[in-house]
C-alpha cells in the first residue's frame, strides 16, 4: 500500500465523485424549490448518454467537437426536464406530495421503457475524445479523467455563481425559503421553477454524457442504479443544498472507492461498508452535512 496506490485511488474517487455530484445537484435543486424528489432524474441522466449517442451517430460525417455536443446534450435534456415539469408536475402542484412522487416515478419508468423499446441492446458509445494516458511516478491519469473532473468542476462553479450572484439565483433561493410569499414580491414563480428544472436536468444530461464517455457501453437501465446513488449522495450532503449536493457526491465517490481499496478487505463488502457508514452519518446528522432543520415557527 504505497503512496502511488493511494493517489491512484484518489483519482478514481474524484472521477466517480464528479459524476455523482453533477447528478445530485439536479435532485437538490428541484427539492430546494419544490420540496419534491424528482425520481425521473436518474433516467434523464441516462437520456443524456443516449442523446449524445444519437447526435454523434446521426452526424457521423462531421467530426463534432466534444464541447459542442456537450452543449447540445445539456440544452436538449434541459428542455426535456422543463417539459416534464410543465406536463407532469405543475398540474399536481397544489395536491398531496405523494401524488407528485408517484408521478415522478411513473415518468422515470416511461422514459426508461421508451428508451428500451428503441434501444433493446446495449450500445457502444462512439469515441468523441481520444484519451491520452499519463504515467507519473507509478500513477496513471488520463486526459479523459482530467476532462471529466474539469468539466464537472466548471459546471458546479458556474451553478454556484448563478445561485449566488444573479437575480435568477436569488429568486430560486427565495422560493426555497418561502414559496408562498415570493409571488407577492413580483417574482414569476412558475418561470423560475421551470428554469430550475431546465438547469438541473441539463446538469444531469451532462453527467450522462460524461459517464457514457468514461464507460462507453450505454444501456437504458444505467440510469436507475446511478440515479439512486446520486440521490443518496444528495441526501447525505443535505437535500436542498447546492453545496451539500457537491459535497455529498464527492463523499459518496470517496467512500465507495475507499471501501474497495482497503487492503485485506474483500471488495465484495463495498456496498455493505459504504451504506453502513452513510446510515451512521444520517443517525448523527439526519439532515445531512449541510442541510438545515426546517424552522418551527411558533
Amino acid at each position: 500500500m504505497d503512496f502511488a496506490y493511494i493517489v491512484q485511488q484518489a483519482i478514481n474517487a474524484l472521477q466517480l465523485g464528479s459524476i455523482y455530484a453533477l447528478i445530485a445537484l439536479g435532485y437538490s435543486m428541484v427539492y430546494g424549490v419544490l420540496v419534491m424528489i424528482n425520481f425521473a432524474h436518474g433516467d434523464l441522466f441516462m437520456l443524456g448518454a443516449f442523446l449524445c449517442f444519437l447526435i454523434v451517430s446521426s452526424l457521423a460525417a462531421f467530426t463534432l467537437p466534444f464541447f459542442l455536443v456537450l452543449l447540445l446534450v445539456m440544452v436538449g435534456i434541459g428542455l426535456l426536464g422543463a417539459l416534464i415539469e410543465r406536463l407532469a408536475y405543475r398540474p399536481l402542484r397544489g395536491g398531496p406530495r405523494v401524488s407528485a412522487i408517484i408521478t415522478a416515478l411513473g415518468c422515470g419508468l416511461v422514459i426508461a421503457n421508451l428508451t428500451l423499446v428503441r434501444f433493446p441492446y446495449p450500445q457502444p458509445m462512439p469515441q468523441l475524445f481520444t484519451s491520452v494516458s499519463y504515467h507519473v511516478y507509478g500513477v496513471t491519469i488520463t486526459s479523459l479523467q482530467i476532462l471529466i473532473i474539469g468539466v464537472a468542476v466548471v459546471l458546479m462553479l458556474g451553478l454556484d455563481f448563478l445561485i449566488r450572484k444573479t437575480s435568477y439565483g436569488m429568486a430560486m433561493r427565495a422560493i426555497s425559503f418561502d414559496v408562498k410569499t415570493v409571488p407577492l414580491m413580483g417574482i414569476p414563480v412558475n418561470r423560475i421553477i421551470t428554469l430550475t428544472f431546465f438547469i438541473g436536468a441539463g446538469l444531469g444530461g451532462a453527467a450522462g454524457m460524461l459517464y457514457g464517455t468514461a464507460y462507453p457501453v450505454i444501456a437504458p437501465s444505467m440510469g436507475i442504479l446511478v440515479g439512486w446513488k446520486a440521490f443518496i449522495a444528495a441526501v447525505i450532503g443535505g437535500i436542498g443544498s447546492i453545496r451539500g449536493a457537491v459535497l455529498g457526491g464527492f463523499f459518496l465517490g470517496a467512500v465507495e472507492v475507499t471501501a474497495v481499496s482497503l487492503p485485506n478487505v474483500p471488495s465484495t463488502y463495498r456496498d455493505l461498508i459504504s451504506y453502513s457508514l452513510l446510515l451512521i452519518i444520517l443517525i448523527f446528522k439526519p439532515h445531512g452535512f449541510l442541510g438545515k432543520a426546517p424552522n418551527q415557527k411558533v
Binding site: N12, L16, T140, P216, M222, V260, P263, P266
Partner: protein
C-alpha cells in the same frame, strides 16, 4: 361513475374481438429468454435458433403424437435477465400457457429460480446455456432435480479446463479474478476456478468483486494491479468485459485476460473493439471445427438471419432437438412421459456434439473449446475433453 356503462360496453366489445378463430392444435413449447436487460444478444440468439428449429420441423409435418403429425408452436417469454422475472415467466408458461416443456432460461441467474418452478410444477425444462451446477442440482439437498436438464457442460468442468489452460498452455503461475458477485454463473465460475487453480499449484493474488450494473471498476483494478498477476480471469457477460478490459489497460495493466463461456456473444467484439484482442475464453463449440450436422445448422442460420450462430444459438437448437426426439419417443402430450423419454435418450447427435444424460443426472457429458479473439473474430485454439 357516469362513464361506467360506456366502459363496460367497450370492455365487452374488446373481449368479443379476442374470441376469434381458434388456432389449429399444436404442441406448445415455452421459451424463457433474455430478450431485454443486460444480455439481449443471448436472448435473441436463443429465440432465433428456436424459431429456425420450429420452422424446419413444421416443414416436415411436425411431431408424431398418437400416430398423427402435429406442428409445434413456440410461446416466448422475456425474463429481462432478472431472476424474479425469470421465475414469473416460468410460472406463466407452465401454469397459464400450459406448455409441454420449457426451453431456457440461458443465464444461470435466471435458470436457477426458473428450474425450481419447473421442478415443483413437474414440467420438463432444458436450459441451453446455463453452466452453474445449481440449475440441475438442488443446492440444499445435493440431489439432482428430476425435471431439469441442460444441453451444455457445467462449471466444475469449465473451471478445470480454464485452470489447466492458464497453468499449462499460458504457463502462468499467478492470476487474479474479477467477477460479478450478484450473478450466479460468474460467481460460481470464479470460486471454482480459484479452487482448481490453487489445487494445481497456482496462486490467486487478487479476488475482487463488483455488482451487476456497475460500470466503474477502477478501484478493484487498481487493487489488482498492485498484486501484479500474469493472468486476469474474467468470468463476466459480454456487456461488462469491454468496460473492464478498457479500464484495466487505461490503468496500465498488461496482464493476459482469460474469460469463460459467458463471453461468447459476438457483440463482445462490437462493444470491445481493439481492447478485447488477444484474450482467450472457453466456449461450447466453434464454427471452425464443425461436424456436417453443425455445418448445415450454421449455413441454415446464416441464410435466415445473416450472421453466424453463436454457442447460445447452437445449444438452443440442440435443446429443441433433444426435446423433439423425446416427445416423438413418448408419442403423447404428457409431461411425465416426455420427461422419462428425455432421460432415456440413448444418444443424440447435435450441433454441439453427441449428448446423452447419465441416469439420475440432467447434465450431459460435453467437451469444450478454447477460443481466442483475433483480428476481430473468434479463432479456435484448442479442444478440451472431459
Amino acid at each position: 361513475m357516469k362513464y361506467l356503462p360506456l366502459l363496460a360496453a367497450v370492455v365487452s366489445v374488446a373481449g368479443l374481438i379476442g374470441c376469434g378463430e381458434k388456432a389449429p392444435p399444436s404442441v406448445k413449447i415455452g421459451l424463457n429468454a433474455e430478450l431485454t436487460g443486460e444480455m439481449p444478444a443471448v436472448g435473441a440468439s436463443s429465440k432465433n435458433a428456436a424459431e429456425l428449429f420450429v420452422e424446419q420441423l413444421n416443414a416436415s409435418g411436425g411431431l408424431t403424437i398418437d400416430g398423427a403429425k402435429m406442428p409445434i408452436s413456440l410461446n416466448v417469454g422475456d425474463n429481462g435477465a432478472k431472476a424474479d422475472q425469470a421465475a414469473a415467466i416460468a410460472q406463466r408458461l407452465i401454469s397459464q400457457d400450459e406448455v409441454l416443456a420449457m426451453i431456457g432460461p440461458n443465464a444461470s441467474t435466471c435458470a436457477i429460480p426458473a428450474s425450481e418452478i419447473a421442478e415443483s410444477l413437474k414440467c420438463t425444462m432444458i436450459s441451453p446455456w446455463s453452466t452453474n451446477p445449481k440449475t440441475t442440482v438442488d443446492a440444499t439437498t445435493g440431489k439432482s432435480k428430476d425435471y431439469v436438464f441442460r444441453a451444455c457442460f457445467i462449471d466444475t468442468f469449465q473451471a478445470r479446463v480454464l485452470a489447466k489452460f492458464v497453468l499449462g498452455t499460458l504457463n502462468a503461475k499467478t492470476s487474479a479474478v474479477l467477477y460479478d458477485v450478484a450473478s450466479e454463473a460468474p460467481n460460481g465460475q470464479a470460486t471454482l476456478f480459484k479452487e482448481v487453480f490453487e489445487k494445481n499449484g497456482g496462486q490467486v493474488v487478487g479476488f475482487e468483486t463488483y455488482t451487476t450494473g456497475d460500470r466503474d471498476f477502477s478501484a478493484q483494478l487498481t487493487k489488482i494491479k498492485a498484486a501484479n498477476p500474469e493472468v486476469i480471469f474474467l468470468p463476466a457477460y459480454y456487456g461488462d468485459v469491454p468496460l473492464i478490459i478498457e479500464q484495466a489497460r487505461r490503468l496500465g495493466i498488461t496482464a493476459q485476460f482469460v474469460g469463460s463461456d459467458a463471453w461468447s456473444s459476438p457483440d463482445i467484439i462490437k462493444l470491445g473493439g481493439a481492447n478485447v484482442e488477444g484474450a482467450y475464453f472457453c466456449n461450447h463449440y466453434s464454427t471452425q471445427i464443425a461436424t456436417p450436422i453443425a455445418e448445415k445448422f450454421v449455413a441454415d442460420y446464416k441464410a435466415k438471419y445473416g450472421q453466424e450462430p453463436d454457442d447460445v444459438a447452437a445449444l438452443t437448437f440442440d435443446s429443441m432437438g433433444l426435446l423433439a426426439q423425446a416427445i416423438n419417443a413418448a408419442g403423447k402430450v404428457d409431461r411425465q412421459a416426455v420427461r422419462d423419454a428425455l432421460a432415456a435418450i440413448p444418444k443424440y447427435d447435435g450441433v454441439t456434439g453427441t449428448m446423452q444424460f447419465e441416469p439420475g443426472s440432467g447434465d450431459p457429458i460435453k467437451s469444450a473449446v478454447i477460443l481466442q479473439i483475433k483480428d476481430g473474430k473468434f479463432v479456435w485454439v484448442a479442444n478440451a475433453q472431459p
